[in-house]
């Protein structure tokens, strides 16, 4: 298998692997961040770290499942860094206010997706990106996110609930 060969040091296999999966990485990164520039940066960071990461891949998961997990984790780290940065310049109490403001600013962006997604908690966003965007089953998404199928089901119903609430809001 390509990934196994790459993991054991086959250069051509690695090149083919990255070439084949770059679009997938980029796509998921975009679905997770909702911003094209960030998706590009994230995909590049992941590619750069992939040779080292690949050594942790022990073939116990399907390669794509593992790769999705890497992307989701990288996106989490990116969010965390952004949060920390935002917080470094603000006091503890002001931080939540600033976050809300930031959400408001982003909501004004033309990007409809970013608008819809930023209203949701990160876990829900991740779940949506995988289930709707990557057309995974709930079991597969659970495998990537490290939660049970039930949790994914619950998250999807939570998203529906929020969307209904939002629709009501928009209607009034």
């Amino acid at each position: 298998m390509l990934a196994t060969a790459a993991a054991t040091g086959d250069r051509a296999a690695f090149a083919a692997l990255v070439g084949r999966h770059y679009d997938r990485i980029h796509g998921l990164a975009w679905r997770l961040t909702g911003v094209r520039a960030e998706a590009e940066d994230l995909a590049q960071d992941i590619c750069a770290a992939l040779p080292a990461k690949l050594r942790h891949w022990r073939g116990e998961a399907r390669f794509t499942t593992w790769l999705y997990r890497v992307v989701v984790n990288a996106a989490h780290d990116l969010r965390r860094r952004q949060t920390t940065r935002a917080k470094a310049s603000l006091g503890w109490g002001d931080w939540e206010m600033a976050r809300q403001e930031e959400i408001a600013v982003q909501a004004e962006a033309q990007d409809w997706l970013a608008q819809a997604m930023t209203g949701l908690a990160p876990e829900l966003r991740d779940t949506l990106a995988l289930v709707l965007g990557e057309e995974m089953t709930q079991a597969e998404a659970g495998l990537v996110l490290g939660v049970s199928e039930g949790t994914i089901a619950w998250r999807m119903s939570e998203v529906k609930k929020r969307l209904r609430a939002k629709a009501r809001e928009d209607a009034t």
């Binding site: 040091g9 990255v18 770059y22 679905r31 770290a49 992939l50 997990r69 949506l128 939002k166």
Partner: protein
């Protein structure tokens, strides 16, 4: 109905095509890193088959194989030595590059090359090894390669000192004046070997294989609060040792959970003092007017006949249970999606309902849940109304993200509302430690909890589940919130923490308990505090009542152990200085002087108690059992101070001193040691 969802789906499917230039750039970068890494098959490869949740066991086992079987080294298995070198170098260098290096290794620090450079040279030596190691023919080649690329000094001393391969390997330049160091300086080398073998170094190593550290390993997001084990200190240079007591037990439960799952815990998961303090000890009870009594005992150190072990045991008073003040409890429960596992929320519900039976009718309980948004699930309710409380517990469902900060604020507000004169208020935070929304700034949270502590509300943390257990945050919260951190992995552990030891866990009898020991240079040349790394205080903090320290609960015990070495003993690890001033000579026969400071709950000013340590205090089965557990912890850490003392000795010592063991905790510990011994092979 699903219009919104369909629109989302459509939008998500419409991912923009990636930019060709960006793709080319990313791929070029990937290939560049791939080549760099392939050119240097670094140590990560040797651990490919390691167990998933114990990232460094492979390496650790190798350490043990190398150290505990002198026969292996004695047959001059150069390959083994060289593997030792190749595996350990990155560890040592990263560890040494860290700023909080113990002062005892200044030689190594000044002499060592920069971390990046050192890693590269390690890579060079490791490259031929990865493939060649198993074949004996290849060994000599590898060794030559090593000798050429590494400082030949280090290589030759590595060969000379066969029984301790990792010591020299780890410190290539630490022994410039002792190339044939195998015999005379063995003790010294053992001391120096400490740095790479212990927690901090291993953490550094864990980060090593990924050049870009921003990408965390995907499978496990646990974080542990720990420092490198305390080094040996020279009494003449630093006669005073100061630390805060620690009544947490989380580390022991984490260790148990790892062992029973079939893998050795990582050194960073082991806090020796928490393992020792997990067990109840039958120390003499204080006189009625005292908040607690201290008991000192001195005995030969089990693992080193040349040193003595000083045990300081503190027994808290047990006020009459009938007279305890009414209790206000706020359960702050994490109901985020990650809590869904059977060993998290369901176990938590069972645990809390066990505890409910222990409460008095006049006690009050409120429940705050946090997930997505925080909410008061149960308004303050008298404990007599069990049905309402149980129903509220049962209704808790896992799902959503974790809004830890919001939940904490609400819990403090609720606790404040419940407060009345003479009552004790406590928040019990139950979580898997996943404070990932709005609260990934532990320092801000700590500061907040520390401020709230002033209001008199205590905060205890119960950890559940593994996988993203954030031990570091749990520790920070409990230490700053005047509470304890316990880790609950089974229902019987819940019983221990919440039922058997409820009074101790919930009713503080002394706040800010600090211990200071001044050693007498005339009788103690070197000393080492075992554990309490995360609790050390500065000397001047002892008398400063503004400095926070640990709390002690009703009827609980706290134990601290020192290993001390007499002047002139063969077990001394540090040589006298050639150019330094003559050590300040102490006088008298006493070993040292024990000072304790504490505040009555809520008091501003501390009380001082002083006791000399004469060295005549006899050991008991209790203190010997504590020593066995301290040995257990240090074995798990791969401590360098234990010499040949191993699992068999630890098990025998614990077994012989189990005492009455009414709850079976000590028998369980013996079984865990056997399990660890089996896993360590």
């Amino acid at each position: 109905m699903n219009d919104g969802l369909d629109a989302l789906r459509a939008a998500l499917k419409a991912a923009p095509a990636p930019d060709a230039d960006a793709k080319a750039r990313a791929m070029a970068l990937a290939m560049e890193n791939f080549d760099r890494l392939q050119g240097s098959a670094e140590a990560g490869r040797s651990s490919e088959d390691r167990p998933k949740a114990a990232p460094l066991n492979g390496v650790r086992r190798m350490f043990h194989a190398l150290t505990s079987r002198p026969a292996l080294a004695a047959t001059t298995s150069v390959a083994a030595l060289v593997i030792g070198v190749a595996v350990i170098l990155p560890v040592a260098d990263l560890r040494l590059g860290k700023p909080e290096l113990p002062p005892e290794t200044p030689v190594a620090r000044t002499a060592e090359p920069g971390p990046a450079e050192a890693t590269l040279s390690a890579d060079r030596t490791a490259a031929p090894l990865a493939d060649a190691a198993p074949q004996p023919e290849a060994k000599a080649v590898a060794a030559d390669e090593l000798a050429r690329t590494e400082e030949s000094d280090a290589a030759s001393s590595a060969v000379a000192a066969a029984p301790e391969p990792q010591a020299e390997a780890a410190m290539p330049e630490a022994l410039p004046s002792a190339p044939v160091a195998g015999l005379a300086a063995e003790g010294e080398m053992r001391l120096r070997a400490e740095a790479p073998a212990e927690g901090g170094g291993v953490k550094g190593y864990a980060a090593a294989p990924a050049p870009d550290a921003m990408l965390a390993p995907p499978e496990n997001t646990e974080a542990y609060a720990n420092d490198a084990p305390n080094p040996v200190k020279v009494t003449a240079e630093e006669p005073v040792s100061t630390f805060s007591i620690d009544v947490d037990t989380a580390s022991y439960a984490v260790v148990r959970s790892s062992l029973t799952s079939g893998y050795l815990p990582g050194p960073e998961q082991v806090r020796v003092e928490e393992m020792v303090n997990y067990f109840p000890y039958a120390y003499p009870a204080p006189t009625p007017e005292q908040a607690f009594a201290s008991t000192v005992s001195v005995m030969p150190t089990p693992w080193n006949p040349g040193t003595r072990l000083v045990t300081i045991g503190i027994q808290g008073a047990l006020p009459e249970v009938a007279a305890r003040p009414p209790l206000n409890l706020v359960f702050l429960i994490d109901t985020s999606g990650s809590m869904e596992d059977a060993n998290k929320l369901p176990l938590l519900k069972q645990s809390l309902s066990l505890m409910l039976a222990e409460l008095r009718p006049e006690d009050q309980v409120a429940i705050v849940a946090y997930a997505g948004s925080a909410g008061e699930v149960l308004p303050p309710t008298a404990a007599a109304d069990r049905a309402a409380i149980l129903a509220a517990l049962d209704n808790l469902m896992a799902g959503g993200s974790t809004a830890g900060a919001e939940g904490l604020e609400l819990a403090y507000r609720v606790a404040e509302g419940m407060k009345a004169e003479g009552e004790v208020s406590r928040i019990l935070l139950a979580t898997d430690g996943d404070f990932n929304v709005g609260i990934d700034d532990p320092e801000g949270l700590e500061a907040y909890v520390a401020r709230k502590r002033e209001t008199g509300t205590y905060l205890s943390v119960l950890g559940f589940g593994r996988g993203n257990l954030d031990d570091a945050i749990m520790q920070a919260l409990a230490q700053n919130g005047n509470g304890t951190a316990a880790y609950i992995d089974t229902l019987s552990e819940a019983r221990k923490v919440l039922v058997d030891q409820l009074t101790g866990a919930l009713f503080p009898i002394a706040d800010d308990v600090k211990i200071q020991v001044e050693w007498n240079p005339a009788t103690v040349a070197e000393y080492r505090l075992i554990g309490y790394e995360t609790r050390s205080l500065r000397r001047e903090d002892f008398n400063n009542d503004k400095v926070d320290a640990g709390e002690i609960g009703a009827g609980t015990q706290v134990t601290a152990l020192y290993e001390v070495t007499a002047p002139g003993s063969e077990a001394l690890l540090n040589d006298p200085l050639r150019y330094g001033a003559a050590p300040a000579g102490g006088t008298g026969e006493e070993l040292g002087f024990l000072r304790l400071r504490w505040k009555a709950p809520g008091a501003e000013v501390s009380t001082l108690a002083e006791t000399p340590i004469t060295g005549e205090e006899a050991a008991t089965a209790e203190t010997r059992f504590a020593a066995a557990i301290a040995g257990f912890g240090q074995l798990l850490q791969g401590s360098v101070y234990l010499g040949d003392w191993g699992w068999d000795e630890a098990i025998a010592l614990a077994q012989a001193n189990r005492g009455e063991d009414g709850f079976g905790y000590r028998s369980e510990a013996v079984n865990l040691m056997r399990l660890a011994q089996a896993l360590d092979r």
